[in-house]
Symmetry: D3
Subunit: 333 residues, 6 copies
């Protein structure tokens, strides 16, 4: 069982020896100035990444056959260079099956995935449009899709970039979309929520999340919008009663959900539900980015009067944590 996480190490005194389970994200052979060869590793777990060095690869306590993607148990200690931690590895072995949970090795949602999945199911059950309901049930009844939908991150880096992130993002959007649909009678609630559930479904094919998060080659060439459309087209093909116009609208929701051509949507939102979907998707991604940024500032020990660093996904702006600056306890959150 994994009990020491990369995020814990910042508080360890230098030189303290510890044991830990990590995922090997990369492995490179290198040489010191004095021509001594050593191994440089990038390790990961669900809380972050850590550089590590094996100064004596020939040491019998260092396993020889491990590669990128391996799960290993390490013994060693950390030191700090220019604010960056680095581990010195003294022992290394491949882990036995069952020694460690995969969910401890990649960042994962803080929510209970089963609970999120149940909420998703309830939203579908609560729909009154029989065609949309049938479509969603057919898609999520496919075991391969369901498993991937529960595991996939919502993005490689930007927001909800953790296992279960897609599902977490969708459930948040379902609840937000429900509120927005209640506010605007113009909106067809079932259509909007269908768009929420399906808009990013192509990410289960676009991304891989075995060794860190990355794009598949097919995902890079086709993109999750096209991959999602294809997946939904196939599901509709299996529902002969599905109204053709409704099909066009569902596909349009997926195609247009990025809101702008330059963000990779080949069509602008042209129906009210597509307009609303683009807004709530964008708002939820940005609110999550804000929350992550505040958490990062907390971890870095920034005071309440300090702004965050510049946030790339928010036009490089800095952010201020309202509650902390006002001196509120923030316990409402």
């Amino acid at each position: 069982m994994k009990d020491i996480f990369i995020s814990d190490l910042a508080t360890f005194e230098e030189g303290r020896v510890f044991d830990g389970f990590f995922l090997v994200l990369s492995k490179q052979q290198r040489t010191t100035k004095n021509n001594k060869p050593y191994l440089n590793l990038m390790l990961g777990d669900k809380t972050g990444q850590l550089e590590a060095r094996i100064w004596d690869p020939a040491d019998p306590r260092i396993a020889k056959e491990f590669e990128k993607g391996a799960i290993v148990k390490l013994r060693g200690s950390c030191s700090r260079f220019d604010e960056r931690l680095q581990m010195k590895v003294e022992q290394l072995r491949i882990v036995h099956a069952g020694e460690v949970e995969k969910s401890d090795l990649l960042p994962a949602t803080g929510y209970d995935v089963n609970d999120l999945w149940r909420q998703l199911g309830q939203f579908i059950e609560g729909m009154s449009n029989p065609d949309l309901k049938a479509l969603l049930k057919a898609i999520l009844a496919d075991p391969g899709i369901a498993e991937a939908y529960r595991e996939a991150p919502a993005a490689r880096q930007l927001h909800h970039a953790w296992l279960g992130g897609l599902l977490e993002h969708v459930v948040s959007l379902l609840r937000l979309g429900d509120r927005v649909a209640a506010h605007y009678p113009l909106l067809d609630r079932d259509l909007l929520l269908t768009g929420v559930i399906l808009h990013d479904i192509g990410k289960i094919r676009e991304l891989s999340w075995e060794i860190g998060f990355d794009y598949t080659v097919e995902g890079t060439l086709l993109g999750h919008i096209q991959m999602g459309v294809e997946l939904v087209e196939k599901a509709i093909a299996g529902l002969p009663q599905f109204p053709p116009r409704l099909r066009t609208l569902v596909l349009h929701l997926i195609l247009s959900h990025h809101g702008k051509l330059e963000f990779g949507s080949p069509k602008l939102p042209m129906i009210p539900e597509a307009l609303a979907l683009n807004f709530i998707d964008d708002l939820d991604a940005k609110m999550q980015a804000v929350i992550s940024e505040f958490e990062k500032s907390d971890r870095e020990g920034k005071g309440p009067d300090e702004l965050t660093g510049r946030v790339w996904s928010l036009d490089n702006r800095q952010l201020l944590n309202t509650r902390r600056w006002l001196g509120q306890t923030g316990n409402r959150q």
Copy 2:
């Protein structure tokens, strides 16, 4: 009492004589090809605008002294040129006080302003932050501000461009903001709703709505963002206990609510509440633009399979009315 509106005239047969009350939006002296002088008027009421001609200005049945801004009673009939209606005026007199409601002469909200005002008050009453509550009450207790806040349009042309439009937009945003704040615990609800109530308050100075809707010279040079900030600064100056940091945040909400520098906000949203305010403000404006566009298509007699015209405020895209295209009755709306 006004009983014939410009929007009614489209269905009149040509040549049918009618009487009507209108606001004179402009008045110009012109000459026919045969050098006959005539008067060209632009008339308005709450449903639209109408061109009118007085072919015999010397006729004793035509009042002589009326100018732009006058309210007149006219008798005449309409004909159509290239799909555009034009009125031929036979009689014209200035109206007596009380003959016609000002609210019939300019487009106005379809909601009951007193009811909207009451809802606004309830949102303020329901706040728990005593400083924000005191600020909002102080501002809206000023009779000049209150009257203008109830009357002002939210824009000259783009969205909610009618009397009471500002209040209608704000109340819609309060209800939407309430829902969004409930969804994101990170958000300080009272601060967000304060931003909603104050973000466009400068429009009561930027715009004039006596004769059509237009910008004041001061409004053109300073803008409603600056005018709103100034108005709020003055109110806070009257509240010596108001926390300086809270003051900065309230002003930041107003300054940043357009969301981008190129939209005239001198600052990007840098606190969560400002980010959320920008999103819901933009969404509400766009949803109202969609609704208005669908109503316009209905008035123009477009069928359910026809897209709207290109919408300038939505990047020139066309829109499709989901419900009508799907053949739904739309009675839910």
Copy 3:
């Protein structure tokens, strides 16, 4: 048989009476200044459009029941207002079946469609990649697709906006692509030519060309890129041996052929063939726009020292006809 075309009328003396077959593109009821009702028509044939007026709709020589989309025979004469021709209609009747060729009523390619089709087939026959060959044959063996592919314009307005324009554009691109592939050994010729043949195939669904050229509602919401991808995906689904990686590349060629996100491609070209396809497609469209613009200047009687008008599809630049300016006879062309 149609013998008088709209482009001929510019040279007719005013008042000369003629008979002609035209397509009714629109029909509107209007009224003169003296309240006399009349009909305003927009007529079209393959050479252009012409406004027409029926001053006495009740005249027994005017057929009563004709609508937008009808093919009619008209008698009347033309006059000119501000350089714009207008027809005065004296007689009108619906045409009998077979009286006129549909190809005379909409602009059509100047090439022999059967010959273009044969060339397309030869390019496919000449391919050495069996999978791509099988795919293309399967698609074009579908009679509905083949018929539409032979008829479709390549665009609504910009370039090759005439019946058969898609096929004409594709055959030009095949010959150009063949030359370019021969120049760059890096390019997989068969893959490039497959991209040429399929890149715009979605236009057979995106556009309608019964009454003028327009977008279908589905085409507006989904776009020809998505519609083309779907069509090709279905064809590949019927070819179980088709290599999955080749499938990804073919779809990528379609998705990326506009070359930039802001032109509606959800992906940038990422393989050499996609890069080349985007270039030759763009070059061919622009060269055709240049040719059309020079023809228009010729029709307008511009001299060799005059530049064309500003060309919207070429960044509003003006063009100069090299050969004419140099005083060459241009007979090489």
Copy 4:
């Protein structure tokens, strides 16, 4: 008294021991590869910044209690790594009051501040518009404002980023504006010069210049444009005779002086004086950037045939020093 400056060190031979007074800009605890802890400091004085290391923090000759912002006296020597200087500190103590001038520790204008201040006063005295004169005198009579106005840098990094930079920039602009107003009779000279004096006054609140130059939190959220407008509004509120229209124009000058929305001005310049103010402000900032860049190239020992590095504030262009390239002595400058 400070007699050794950071800019002098480049010419010291390596290892030469010296004493110097510096401002501690930052202080960090670090560890060597061998786990030996050391202190890393960033030191500053008016001529630049210098990295320093204390290898033995426990040495009794090293004072223990000093933090970011402290003024210290150091003894040590410099070495050079990859062209970057680094100081090895052997002794360190906190300075006594009066040992060193604050103006030696932060970069400061090369001009005599009292002289600049006198010039500013003369420009105000020379105005003929009594209202503007009264306004400017009222503002600069406030001791807090006057002191800050004399000290503030004009920017954090881009141009005139030194103590007194704001005043230096304003006086340069007054003299330039005087020349430009004399050239264009259309311009109201007093209004233009008032704009010059007030356009950046908000920087005295937006920036802090105690420990290096930085933005205050309020400055980041509100910006110097808004802060300047507020300051001027308050001053005008104390002048009951001030004409309301003149007030609007003065505020407009401040609001619009960045010239473009995307540069943070919520309004474009709409009066001739605002247009001229934006031009001369921009020209002066850019000319100063050019001068600074040439000085930097000189310090780096570049020859007359070498262009400067790419200048970020000038669209990354490189610059050529005309006089040096032509081989002129440049003594006119």
Copy 5:
């Protein structure tokens, strides 16, 4: 001698018969609704343009042989349609040589061209750099260049679009440049003023100003920047002592004076003089545009509280005339 100008006609009562000399800018054959042919002319003089109609071209009092570019004497009267004046021509004859000044027929500078030319010469005489002085004298000693330089407008439409406009703009810039060079010792005054004199010299080839103002074909294909560079290169080729580096700088000033690539300069300003030239050129053009716009508003009878129309060359902004709004007499101007 021309005594009635187009700008005078606005105040004539309709139907008043007058005689006038005008330049024929265009001539078109047209037909009335009743198939009556007539001639439509566009007339111009230095104060504007006027549409005119000859209803009876066969009338013996109407000269038969006149074309675009002819100078004619007309008798007739004006009427007004939708605020637009139109002349009805009763008599027309070609003018005799010497009857009218060419300078009355095209808009021309309000300054004395000989005086402007003298000022230009004085600036050259006052230079101390012998090479630049020799170059400028050599260029302006060419009679063809000198004559064109004195006549050319500075632009076709945007600013100084009148005969002598180039010279007027250059002399204004020389005086402004002189002031700016005096302010910045960094600037090489002679080099800056040489840039002023030569920056737009290519316009004497790019534009034609015989019949209205237009681009030559060569001007459209090459542009005044290239044409100016070529002209200066030729002149320098005739001065064997001219230093090669100075030549590069002079050409760079011409190439870069538009300041941005997207404005047609193939190089950004990279020397201080080029930076300053771009600024003062842009400022002078914009100040002249402001003046022209205020004059236009005056002619249109706008009140002091009215903003101008949107100004295309100033990003579509509206302008306010400071002095008039403040109620100043403006006699200083």
Copy 6:
């Protein structure tokens, strides 16, 4: 004779001693942490660049007098830091004349320059337009131009950045242009090919290629477009029969060949040949960039399933090598 190249070193085992000839691209004096002075060199040959250190500059086996630009023979060995190779130099001497080919020291075209030059000549011989033929022959008959044209790289970094790259790029474009001209009869083949040969000729002045590839100061200030135009203008001045209109077109081809103002062309392509030239120039540059990128991935040992790194000159996109991904041997290439 040079037999060891920088690209070979990657496969050497660390510490293996070798001798090699290199060009000194830069030379800097530095100091170790222990204050020991050493020399840091950047070495280059036609296959790349290599950092080198001389730890004991006083060693008698190290020549003292060599500077940037020298060709030297070195003895030493390599080690690797963070994937970057570094050479430790033990001996160094200046090479004797004739010991090494200059073409081995800078990257050079893989084609036979004499053969490329012969092909260029054949294209010129094959032209039928006598004026263009005479112009091209006159230009390339100048020995200085011819030599430079054979040697010049086509760019400093982006594409064909090697000796002979300009000629290689031009010959590729001639063959491609020949194909494209054959496809579009509208194009004047001789004019297009003339544009191909002359479009980048200014690069022989803009760039220097003695010590690495760099811009000359004149090249930076004027650019190769202007320098090419000037060179061609001079050549035409020597051909009195050259038709002026043809001259304008040739110059326009050079001026406009970048296709957009923001890419440094002061004019957009306005003739068909200029449009085509811009397309094929851009296509050839991009195809070469793709080829170079694939070669780089091969050198880096990337597998067939890995995309290239982000390519700066292609909008930071990644690329996929079609053939390798499909598992083809690629022997066709």
